[in-house]
Subunit: 243 residues, 2 copies
Amino acid sequence: MLKRRLQAFTRLSEDDRASIDHLSGKCVREWGAKRDLIHEGDRPRSVFVMLEGWACRYKQLPDGRRQIVAFFIPGDLCDMEIYILKAMDHSVGTLTNVRAAEISHHDFDQLMLDHPRITQALHWDMLVTVAVQREWTLNIGQRTAYERLAHLFCELFMRLRTVGLANGDTRDFPINQTDLGDATGLTTVHVNRMLQDLRRDGLIELHNRQLRLPNLHSLMDAAMFTPNYLHLDHEGRSIDANS
Amino acid sequence: MLKRRLQAFTRLSEDDRASIDHLSGKCVREWGAKRDLIHEGDRPRSVFVMLEGWACRYKQLPDGRRQIVAFFIPGDLCDMEIYILKAMDHSVGTLTNVRAAEISHHDFDQLMLDHPRITQALHWDMLVTVAVQREWTLNIGQRTAYERLAHLFCELFMRLRTVGLANGDTRDFPINQTDLGDATGLTTVHVNRMLQDLRRDGLIELHNRQLRLPNLHSLMDAAMFTPNYLHLDHEGRSIDANS
DNA sequence: CGGGTAATTGACCCGGGTCAACAGCAGTGG
DNA sequence: CCACTGCTGTTGACCCGGGTCAATTACCCG
């Protein structure tokens, strides 16, 4: 999956891909839902490559208010960068059961030294991560509740496709309404109501942890979504319309 | 200023500092207030080092709603990273008159090649930028209007200090209420009212583009501000209480 | 069948938005 | 020196998107 994700940016050699596979299989661990992989204040340790399940970065205020600031889906890297820093400024927690590969800093550094194209792809990955964070700031700061949710669905829909977790116009989407609320700065109750509106308008279908977007174009319009900030317009990109 | 900022992270050699000074003086340009240095959709060009004045990154929705996603103050770098990407996903505009040094990618790459400590410091800078972006997401997503503004003041207050733009407990603060609103996801009217509340509570004094924080500790409490996400706890950090 | 999590609903409320007018003040030109 | 313009800050009246609280329903899953 990581392979797949990086190849959205650049072509990797056989050798590059083999190295990624090797590291991704070296130390695989599992977590249940709602566990912390690492907590704010901890010293950053290893790098994780998400293999299965969903996780998130989140921050919390002293009184308990919680903001999810990013979602991790399979193929995503957690915190590769952070290891220069002394302490985590946020937590990473699972949302579902998660399988992930833990990679030591040493192995990770070595990977980058040996594979310049991977290094470049990782740099791209970091830039995209920041771009997404900026888009979230816009999303929460300016869009209405209805638009925010629509936008989030568009984004995740596209991201899931680029790592191959696509099935026509539907995707596994194992996120509950509380987490959607924490990600969009809304309450569960209001998320529920807006989902109903989105359903009524024929823009989403969401049952049994399955998300179907029957009319992606209209949804994008409603969300004022443009995929430019995901920066998928690169040589290695596999352009396959809807799979 | 850039020097100063990077030295918050690591000690630079005489030579490092000289090179930064050299590049920062090489091609200095000026802009009036409310001009765009670069606009969403443009191909990223050079790197800018802010020398004087304030600028911001912002994004806009098709209907005109505008979100400032970051402030640039002297010493900040704009878009050093972006040049791998094909098109800007946001704009950079001035808020006041601005003087900045424009550095070509070539010169910039060369600087990094020749000065590993600078490279590392720039990497740190990028990580801090993302961390700030995450904090903004939390700020807008979870804090109330009053808290949001309080938090913004704390953050900028500290950042201004680390680049030496400090004068006891007061700082130049040339930002109008509209921009404060665009940065916090609030309307001008409401910003105005919350500023009045903050003044009434003795937490801020803001006249004539001068910000004084007579009781920083209480303001931080009110904002639930912790400076951890600025990651200033490094070897090179100049620990000077309040200057 | 029981217990736990997630989704849904209704009644009510409030933080913050909207709209529109007005005041203060610096700059500019006559 | 003054009228004019434009920007920024301020105020008041009113409204609405979204929050709060609390109860209820639908699902799992063992």
